[in-house]
């Protein structure tokens, strides 16, 4: 394993200790629940989407540092994006965190989300990083079922 600091970068520790957009929107247009039964992580994501644009996003729940930071970073990243832009971002993000550990990931356009790239070296923790994103996809697709990483 490379240094643990690759996983627990300052950005991640900051977002874990001070999660942004924490809570729930009062009148969300979209909402979904995500659950990782393996570790008990649970989060609720609420979105305000107007004319195909994500106006606001919040999350609530509890989880490990990686899943909390990932959810917090997600809410920042998707605000102002169109729905198709968020799908594209999810795919880019997913590619990076599931890339082989020894690869050099292409972080262009990921912004602060790049801080989570270190997760690819910790296969057991990839689900922690992707839970919020799967929940986002579920919220946008309008599927009422809670998503699970299992």
């Amino acid at each position: 394993m490379s240094d643990l600091r690759d996983l627990y970068q300052e950005v991640i520790l900051d977002h874990t200790k001070h999660p942004r957009n924490f809570g729930a929107l009062e009148h969300p247009t979209h909402r979904a629940t995500g659950h990782n039964p393996l570790c008990g992580d649970q989060l609720v994501l609420t979105l305000d989407v107007e004319r195909d644009q994500v106006r606001d996003a919040r999350f609530a729940g509890k989880g490990c540092a990686i899943s909390t930071a990932s959810a917090s970073l997600l809410t920042e990243a998707v605000k102002g994006k169109t729905v198709s832009e968020t799908h594209a971002l999810f795919e880019r993000f997913h590619d990076v965190v599931t890339a082989p550990a020894e690869s050099e990931p292409d972080l262009a356009g990921l912004g602060k989300l790049a801080a989570l790239a270190g997760v690819r070296e910790f296969p057991m923790r990839v689900k922690c990083a992707s839970l919020a994103w799967h929940t986002l996809e579920a919220a946008l697709s309008g599927a009422g079922e809670p998503v699970s990483t299992e």
């Binding site: 627990y8 520790l13 989880g63």
Partner: protein
């Protein structure tokens, strides 16, 4: 003579490897123990020299394999101080043993409204099989609570024993808290109420001398892989009169006396419950593990592990913001803890980076996590090969968690 854990550790080949360029400290034996050479060699030698199917052929190998398999059964009998080898059923592990009792004993006897009493600290494997059989029969599962330290509250347990209590299922030692239950006392109360007592011995046998007759239950299940034997083998002890009265739960070869299309007669216990080719090599490995463990002197082992547990509790308590989960009057083999509000999985990942293997999660005991209002804990569990130096590495690793999470 004091117990020489370092010498014992040298008998485990895996302990000489490194993890993340650091010498491995293995503190996850409650999940699955590592194997000494004596066990690895026994399994390997069995395959190299003896293997064949059991109870089948008249040829030499089959006879030798059968003898090895039945010798393993006798060693389990002696290990548990059971009355007869016929009371020892080989199973895959504790989970299968408990499911066997649930399906072959409880399912045909339970009536709607009957009660199965389990304690709050049970592993899911001593809860879910009872929920399943309750669903099948209309019986219900009743829970006996634990207190804030993690001890079963004996008065509450007794108060839940009633005329409808048919079955009581309890752990010998809690896998998430390390609580040693007063099994003999609880079994006596249950028996007095007319209930059948099933004991989950998964965390008992690796650490304590077990005498099933002194404990006073009716069934006792354990896994080999948590007591230095291979995975895939375990045993269920059951009182012979109960086993003999039970119908089979799986059909197939080995468990029959005669078969025609009109009528099949089943073999008696224990073969009746061992359909199909068993894990012969696993049984041989279990035999080797029992011999090896007994060779160490079980009382000395118990003392050594108790010392490690005390020492670990002390070292962890010194660290600010570490909270021990489960402080029962008598604990065995493990310590569960949380580090501030750092999630257990982050603790586990950072310790792994230091070469230290612990379990992080809910330990298949979600009701216990709920009781202590934590999503998960980190758990360090001890084996014969662990030393105080391992505990020092653990304490240093936990301090590293605090450094990173500051």
């Amino acid at each position: 003579m004091s117990f020489d854990a370092l010498r014992v550790a040298r008998e485990f080949p895996i302990l000489s490897r490194q993890v993340h360029q650091k010498p491995l400290v293995y503190l996850d034996s409650a999940a699955s123990s590592q194997k000494p050479s004596a066990v690895i060699d026994a399994v390997s030698n069995y395959y190299r020299t003896t293997h064949s199917n059991v109870h089948r052929g008249v040829h030499t190998l089959s006879e030798e394999a059968t003898r090895a398999y039945e010798a393993a059964r006798e060693s389990v009998r002696s290990f548990l101080n059971a009355a007869s080898p016929r009371e020892i059923v080989f199973v895959r592990g504790t989970t299968e043993g408990i499911n066997l009792v649930a399906q072959a004993y409880a399912r045909p006897t339970l009536r709607p409204g009957d009660e199965i009493l389990v304690t709050e600290l049970e592993h899911h494997s001593n809860l879910v099989p009872w929920q399943i059989v309750a669903g099948q029969t209309g019986a219900k599962v009743v829970m006996a609570p634990i207190d804030e330290r993690g001890d079963v509250i004996v008065e509450e347990f007794a108060a839940r024993l009633g005329p409808r209590t048919r079955l009581v299922a309890l752990a010998h030692v809690s896998n998430s808290l390390g609580t040693l239950l007063p099994v003999a006392q609880l079994a006596q109360l249950a028996k007095r109420a007319g209930a059948t007592v099933v004991i989950d011995g998964a965390q008992g046998v690796p650490h304590l001398p077990v005498d099933v007759r002194a404990l006073g239950g009716d069934f006792y299940a354990f896994s080999g892989h948590k007591m230095y034997a291979p995975t895939g083998i375990g045993a269920l002890w059951g009182r012979l009169d109960l086993l003999d009265a039970m119908e089979p739960w799986q059909g197939g070869g080995s468990m029959i006396r005669s078969v025609t299309f009109a009528k099949t007669e089943f073999a008696r216990a224990p073969e009746r419950f061992e359909a199909g080719t068993p894990d012969i090599a696993g049984a041989v490995g279990l035999h080797a593990a029992i011999d090896w463990l007994r060779g160490l002197d079980l009382d000395a082992v118990h003392k050594h592990e108790a010392d490690l547990l005390d020492y670990a509790s002390e070292r962890l308590r010194e660290i600010p913001s570490v909270r021990l989960i489960g402080t029962a009057k008598q604990r065995v083999g493990l310590v569960s803890f949380v580090v501030g509000d750092v999630h257990a999985h982050d603790v586990g990942t950072i310790l792994d980076g230091e070469g230290i293997a612990v379990r992080a999660g809910h330990h298949c005991a979600q009701p216990v996590m709920e009781h202590f209002d934590v999503p998960a804990t980190a758990r360090a569990s001890f084996a014969v090969h662990n030393t105080r130096a391992d505990v020092d590495r653990l304490a240093a690793g936990v301090r590293r968690v605090l450094e990173i999470f500051g």
